[in-house]
């Protein structure tokens, strides 16, 4: 091994506090070190050139740089190594600025700590192995699930950019909810008029393959290599032959409620989905057709002059090779029957907002689907913001659609009085407040209060409501001809099958969770899978369309180059140690581990590199590249080797996303905290196994601090739970030996919580020094032997 070590002065930032020359001397004594040099500014042009020359002249195979935080310059130096012909992963950094000279004012203590940090990095580097970023080829084929406006926009953007789109819609036509709307707030464009041309564009686009009345049966594989199985449901009308003359539907004797009109009218068992259906072809509804349900009928077959009817047509399957996936499965509206106090389904004059959309939309071209009367009330937040109904979330758009519908019904008949009963009125979007003001101008009465109950007069069928006007604090009572329920937007049932196949995570409101709420709002945690539209949460059409275009752009970003790199920091399995117990399979939150020929195998393209699985393998067969067991044990050992008998030492395990950054931020803010701490940086603390914890105590640690990213901000799923499980296992072994459990501290942290960090450390030191039972040499000895046994014991302890 040929290691070159550089200690940076960082102007005076480091050298004013840390005795750089002294460290050079002591570190030099470790084996395999070719030289130790101090540089004024390692990151400067000159510094970088020195390193490149040194690597070449001295034939170095590893480089260690003690300087600022790796979060600051790690990438710079890794590129430098590559330039000099060394693998970038043959490199380690010791953070002696943010986490040493900036936070420990005492020169002596800072120098001792810096020395340890450099030694730890040198030790870790000895186990470094060259890691290769593998390049995978990727094609240009995108699966878009859902043919609402989100799916339509994404498909058109992708198709126009030259990508091949496979759009799958479970209903017989694309268009989604938007196709049902009357007009759209706040501009009141006619919904059908603006979505109609887009439907045709999709159907005629040379790069879009449209699959309607089709479901996703299976999805396997990963980014650039998905295999998708479709089930194309039988339509029993041969599409190529049908000319949409409609004679079949005219003659069909079976009537069923028309879903497109929200049950307000009837359709036949052979039907066309809607007046603007794309494709515009008839289809037999298997569930209701007499012929298909064992009754003799066959009328449509007799009347169809095209011979397009085929009662025996089977479902078909098709397998697609896909590179990226966009989920645009939309929303369901809240099921109003669940809010029994409003009597939907029981009282004929209680209707839903979507029904009112249909009444208004069809109103211009024919008789109204139902009468509306003269006094109409809207009830807001039905199912939303109602923990009784199980939904805490705000549906965001109901305030505006009610404001729209109220104005439309008033405009049809200006003598109508329209009331909107709301809890908070949310008019947050562009042009929304102005639109709300227009409704006020038009005389729509907004009353702040939530209806508790609706009663019906059985004779007149009028509806009686009592609501507090929480502005005047008076009780309002009134009789209404029609009450419209502004049903909230809920997670679509249709999302589940796809989400389950892809193991997508949901947020607490039940909608799909984005990879990061601020910076990756249309990505999911599964590489190559994106979300758009209401599948991610309630939103209006403009937001849906923006998100759809964003998702298309993110997918293009991955596919455009024709290849993508896979991070080499992944878990890997030693097949000689793996006995095929399958314990790691359920442990991996993203299901990246598979069994192949009785041995576990980590799929590199899926693995996020959290290292969580390592602690679940009873045979220690799993390890994490760049953070191997040997590397971590080595770091633990050297973090503690300099400890004097009367000293206290705390090991801090910090995840790279939040806790390590937090430790940096504390330094940057020049807040000083106890120097008895040594930080070990990890992708996630879930990498630390129970036996490592015991080993740390055995080697001299007096307290262990686990700082992991708050689960809401973490790039990894399930990390906190895994850490707590590992701590429980460690507790179950160390406590009987006489080591107090509170010597291990765990917290979810955010990079901004500077004082929390300081307080937690000081408290842990207090516990380790004063409150906990002392850790004798004898106990430490016992811990060492039990740390080796843990693995076999931990098997059954806690899952």
């Amino acid at each position: 091994m040929r290691i070159g070590v550089y200690i940076c002065h960082c102007g005076g930032n480091i050298a004013d506090v840390v005795d750089v020359k002294k460290i050079c001397e002591t570190v030099q004594q470790q084996d395999d070190i070719i030289f130790t040099k101090d540089l004024e500014h390692t990151c400067s042009e000159e510094g970088q050139q020195t390193i490149v020359n040194d690597i070449k002249e001295n034939n170095l195979d590893r480089v260690v740089i003690a300087a600022c935080s790796p979060l600051f310059h790690e990438k710079t130096f890794m590129k430098l190594l590559e330039k000099a012909g060394l693998n970038p992963y043959m490199f380690e950094m010791a953070n002696i600025r943010e986490q040493c000279s900036w936070c420990h004012p005492s020169k002596g203590n800072a120098t001792r700590k810096a020395e340890d940090l450099v030694n730890m990095a040198v030790k870790k580097s000895k186990f470094d192995k060259p890691l290769q970023k593998t390049s995978m080829t990727i094609g240009k084929r995108v699966l878009v699930v859902g043919g609402g406006i989100a799916g339509i926009q994404a498909s058109l953007d992708l198709g126009d950019s030259g990508f091949e789109v496979f759009m799958v819609e479970k209903e017989p036509s694309i268009g989604g909810k938007m196709a049902k709307l009357s007009k759209t707030f706040p501009t009141e464009d006619c919904a059908t008029c603006i979505i109609g041309p887009k439907l045709t564009d999709v159907a005629t686009h040379p790069n879009i393959h449209l699959y309607t009345y089709t479901e996703i049966k299976d999805i396997q594989g990963f980014l650039g290599n998905f295999t998708v199985t479709l089930r194309k449901k039988a339509r029993h009308v041969i599409q190529e032959k049908c000319v949409s003359c409609g004679i079949c539907a005219e003659k069909c004797p079976t009537k069923v409620p028309d879903e497109f009109n929200e049950g307000l009218s009837e359709r036949k068992a052979i039907y066309i989905h809607s007046p603007i259906a794309v494709p515009r072809k008839y289809i037999i509804d298997e569930e209701n057709c007499r012929q298909l349900n064992g009754q003799r009928c066959g009328i449509c077959e007799k009347v169809c002059v095209q011979g397009a009817i085929d009662y025996l047509q089977p479902d078909e399957e098709e397998v697609l090779k896909i590179d990226t996936i966009i989920i645009a499965t939309g929303y369901d509206t809240f099921q109003p029957e669940l809010k029994a106090v409003y009597g939907y389904g029981k009282f004929e004059n209680v209707i839903t907002a979507l029904q009112l959309e249909r009444i208004i939309a069809t109103g211009s071209s024919g008789p109204p689907l139902r009468p509306l009367g003269n006094r109409i009330a809207f009830i807001q937040c039905v199912g939303s913001r109602d923990e009784q109904a199980g939904h805490e979330h705000c549906s965001r758009i109901c305030c505006m659609y009610a404001t729209k519908l109220a104005q439309l019904v008033k405009r049809i008949n200006p003598n109508r009085e329209v009331y909107i009963f709301y809890t908070d009125l949310r008019a947050y979007g562009k042009g929304f407040e102005e639109y709300y003001k227009r409704a006020q101008n038009a005389g729509i009465k907004f009353i702040r209060g939530r209806t508790a109950e609706i009663l019906e007069d059985p004779k007149t069928k009028k509806l009686f409501m009592r609501v507090e006007d929480t502005l005047s604090r008076q009780m309002i009572e009134g009789e209404f001809d029609v009450v419209v329920l502004s049903n909230g937007l809920m997670p679509a049932k249709g999302t589940d099958p796809v989400a389950n196949l892809l193991k997508l995570v949901k947020s607490p409101d039940g909608f799909l969770q984005e990879a990061h709420p601020k910076f990756r709002p249309v990505d999911t945690l599964v590489d190559g899978v994106f979300i758009a539209g209401c599948a991610q949460g309630p939103k209006d059409i403009p937001d849906t369309v923006s998100q759809a275009s964003a998702a298309a752009a993110r997918a293009i970003r991955l596919m455009n180059k024709g290849q993508y790199d896979i991070e080499p920091i992944t878990a890997f399995i030693d097949p000689d140690l793996c006995d095929g117990c399958e314990k790691c399979i359920p442990a991996c939150p993203i299901k990246a581990i598979q069994m192949i020929d009785g041995k576990a195998f980590v799929q590199g393209a899926l693995c996020k590199g959290c290292g969580l699985c390592c602690a679940y393998c009873p045979k220690e067969a799993i390890d994490l590249a760049y953070y191997t067991k040997n590397q971590i044990m080595g770091e633990i050992e050297l973090a503690l080797s300099s400890k004097k008998p009367d000293e206290t030492r705390i090991l801090i395990f910090a995840d790279n996303t939040c806790a390590y950054r937090l430790a940096d931020n504390v330094g940057t803010a020049r807040l000083s905290y106890p120097h008895e701490t040594r930080v070990i940086r990890l992708p996630s603390c879930s990498r630390i196994t129970p036996s490592m914890m015991l080993y740390a105590f055995a080697k001299g640690a007096d307290g262990l601090f686990f700082g992991e990213c708050d689960h809401k901000a973490s790039p990894y799923t399930g990390a906190s739970e895994a850490i707590q499980r590992n701590i429980r296992i460690a507790h179950s072994i160390m406590e009987p030996i006489g080591v107090d459990g509170n010597r291990i501290y765990f917290a979810e942290l955010l990079a901004s919580l500077l004082t929390d960090y300081y307080k937690a450390i000081t408290n842990l030191i207090k516990i380790a020094k004063k409150e906990a039972r002392p850790l004798t040499d004898e106990i430490r000895q016992q811990l060492l032997s039990s740390s080796k046994q843990v693995l076999s014991e931990e098997k059954e302890v806690i899952r």
């Binding site: 006094r375 009085e417 006020q440 005389g443 006007d469 005047s472 008076q474 009780m475 309002i476 009789e479």
Partner: protein, 134 residues
């Protein structure tokens, strides 16, 4: 005691009438309270100007029995400041008009002692007649 306000044809007709007479649209009121905060007479009132606006919207005729509509000095402070450009003093005036047009006399000249009458300044009598007779 909590008051009950009924929403029915009569209440809606009352709201419409106030709108017509005042030339305002009370459903525009945001219930923000700027009018109340601006009113110099507020201490003397029994309901605030914004409450008055609300009761009109709800069609509650008891708003005409409040002191507020008479105490309004028509100084237009509220009008100058209302973010919705509403004129609450015009609404108060409309309510006074409706009340006055009910033609109920609370004061009868013939019952008064002519000697007493002589003591009042003319302005007082004019104001009293305007306010207390229909």
């Amino acid at each position: 005691m909590i008051k009950k306000i009924l929403i029915n044809d009569a209440s809606e007709a009352f709201c419409k009438k106030v709108n017509e007479l005042s030339g305002e649209t009370v459903s525009r009121c945001d219930q923000c309270g700027t009018c109340t905060g601006s009113c110099p007479m507020i201490i003397e009132m029994d309901i605030t100007p914004s409450q008055m606006m609300r009761l009109v919207l709800l069609g509650d005729e008891s708003v005409m029995e409040t002191k507020t509509i008479w105490i309004c000095a028509s100084c237009y402070s509220c009008t100058a400041r209302c973010p919705r450009g509403l004129d609450a003093s015009k609404v108060a005036e409309a309510l006074r008009q409706i009340k006055l047009r009910q033609a109920i006399d609370y004061m009868h000249m013939e019952d008064m002692d002519p000697e007493e009458l002589k003591k009042f300044p003319q302005m007082v009598l004019v104001a009293a007649y305007r306010k207390l007779t229909g």
